[in-house]
Symmetry: C2
Subunit: 340 residues, 2 copies
């Protein structure tokens, strides 16, 4: 009954992947936790660079690296045969391996053998820990904020990370609680909630956000959406187990239909999404409230972004900001989350 | 992408379990599908009898049995060493083995070896099929009824089975769709929805209730409760994927708190439970409606049961019946579900 913990700092492995679109994991780590990334490493002939020191495993180990992270994810999510010699080199150099691929690391016989011989760990961040409990539903001390969304892939992780940094800048004792693989790599710990068996989703969320000091905040990365045709169950289990004090609704200005589902799947009105979240969340924590709305305004000129955020503020009586734009709007959202 | 299918008819194995309270699986099969139970079989010295012919595996095979079902579940849910010789005898006699235990059958080396040698199947009904899809959310033809509940363990399976029989008696083309292990054994097919990984729960419900003739009904066994502290995610995934046309709310007259969670977990008012289900279900099927309320009135004198059901009918404007009591009330509930 514990979450996944990762050995840090990392060496980021780009292998033979030269298209930056498939290196989002490595880029996310470079952007969010550069201090935990000792360097990057590609196979010969791969020109992709992220701007970190280029280090082979032995050199990275000397500079303190404890693990090599597979920082790329081409379509299919497999560990390619061409990557294996480099992974073996990392194990031989004394690094553990961390992967978010669909193929488990231990499913590659050569890696399993070398890891066994060298006493190194093979860590698949998609694999939840065993023996997760059914949720107790009991209240616990500490404060919790959960980012939720009108859909998938519109800023729940980004918003949670930005709020965590903003809370920390205000001197608040805060932890980012990761629920997806990129988030787990950034945080160095977490629980891949979408891979947990149905009966234990809320229990996993309880394990992820344990009792804490009364003034401590957990900021929890949301998953899916309560109104999503495929992933609503994940979102509800997380909402039930997290028992948030504060919710932040994430939305994107140009998202009108469920992503990947097409025009027959319009998103419900924001007001009903807010209401549905509160109806569930109040069962566990009657005083729960929305701190505000995080609007992804990517691609909009500032004046238009402001106009849309002003309208959402008026329509729903909640502060609205785009964390990527920051500024006073975002500080107002942060203050509202804190109840200040 | 298929559900679990079981070889029938069954031989029910009681092993060394003499306490009838731990033989509920076998009793459920005897009560609901006696025509699919060739006989029962106990170890020497066990006096428990269910009233079926007592047959050793070879004799049961001769009478047409295709599988032996472990019909008992003592606390812990393990396959006991004392049961193994009998299980081996069944495999040698040409029967497949079916288990709802926590221990997988293939985890017992002797069973794995004999099954391999004899070409027999070891079927764990708690294990969902591999390669379940993420839900498509697309509407599909045919009609669907889902039983839902204010809590766990108050009659969702029983209600679904009783409605299936009543529909069939009215000449309607209907299938009972099982989502838990006892239901799967009764139906001979199904999907253990509570063991499916979070991302695939709604997809599993789609696989379980495929497109059908426009006049065909699936009656789907509900799981958990949308307002349960631990199991709400299971319920929501099932609700999303099943896309029911009709819901039936199951409740028990003496259930005021979440079962096993105690007085700090009062059940929400029935009106709000109805509303919450409709808010979710309408996202996938706008015309969804409640057909009625199934009230478990076990232990009450008839006059008191009637008084409570009358009150629920008045309060919520829905027919209310106890399927175990049957009668005109229940027929009215059936008619309301059919929209007749």
């Amino acid at each position: 009954m514990t979450m996944v913990h990762l050995p840090q700092p990392y060496l980021l492995y780009l292998a033979d992947v030269s298209d930056p679109r498939y290196a989002k994991t490595a880029q996310g780590l470079r952007d969010w936790v550069p201090e935990r990334c000792v360097g990057e490493w590609s196979l010969p002939g791969n020109d992709l660079r992220l701007g970190l020191p280029t280090l082979a495993p032995a050199a990275a180990r000397e500079r303190g690296a404890r693990s090599l992270v597979i920082g790329v994810a081409p379509v299919g999510g497999r560990i390619e045969p061409a990557w294996v010699p480099g992974l073996v080199e990392a194990l031989e150099a004394g690094l553990d391996l961390i992967s978010g691929m669909h193929t488990p690391l231990s499913g590659v016989p050569e890696l399993a053998a070398v890891a066994e011989r060298r006493g190194r760990r093979l860590i698949d961040v998609r694999v939840p820990p065993p023996d997760l409990p059914v949720a107790s539903g009991k209240p616990r001390s500490g404060k919790r904020l959960l980012t939720v969304g009108t859909d998938c892939a519109l800023g729940k992780k980004y918003t949670a990370l930005a709020l965590t940094m903003a809370f920390r800048q205000r001197g608040i004792d805060v932890d980012f609680r990761a629920t997806g693989q990129t988030g787990i790599l950034i945080a160095g710990a977490g629980l891949p909630i979408d891979a947990v068996k149905a009966d234990f989703i809320a229990g996993a969320a309880e394990v992820l956000t344990p009792a804490a000091d009364p003034d401590h905040w957990d900021i929890i990365e949301g998953q899916g959406s309560l109104v999503h045709p495929g992933y609503a169950a994940v979102s509800l289990g997380l909402l039930q187990g997290a028992q948030p004090d504060v919710l932040v609704l994430c939305h994107a200005h140009d998202r009108h239909h469920v992503s990947g589902y097409g025009p027959d799947f319009p998103l419900p009105p924001i007001e009903s999404v807010l209401d549905l979240h509160l109806a569930h969340a109040r069962l566990r924590r009657p005083a729960v409230r929305f701190g505000g709305i995080s609007l992804n305004t990517a691609g909009l000129p500032e004046s238009e972004a402001d106009r849309l955020m002003d309208k959402l503020e008026r329509d729903h009586g909640l502060p609205c900001a785009d964390p990527l734009r920051g500024g006073k709007r975002f500080e107002r959202l942060v203050s509202a989350c804190l109840g200040a």
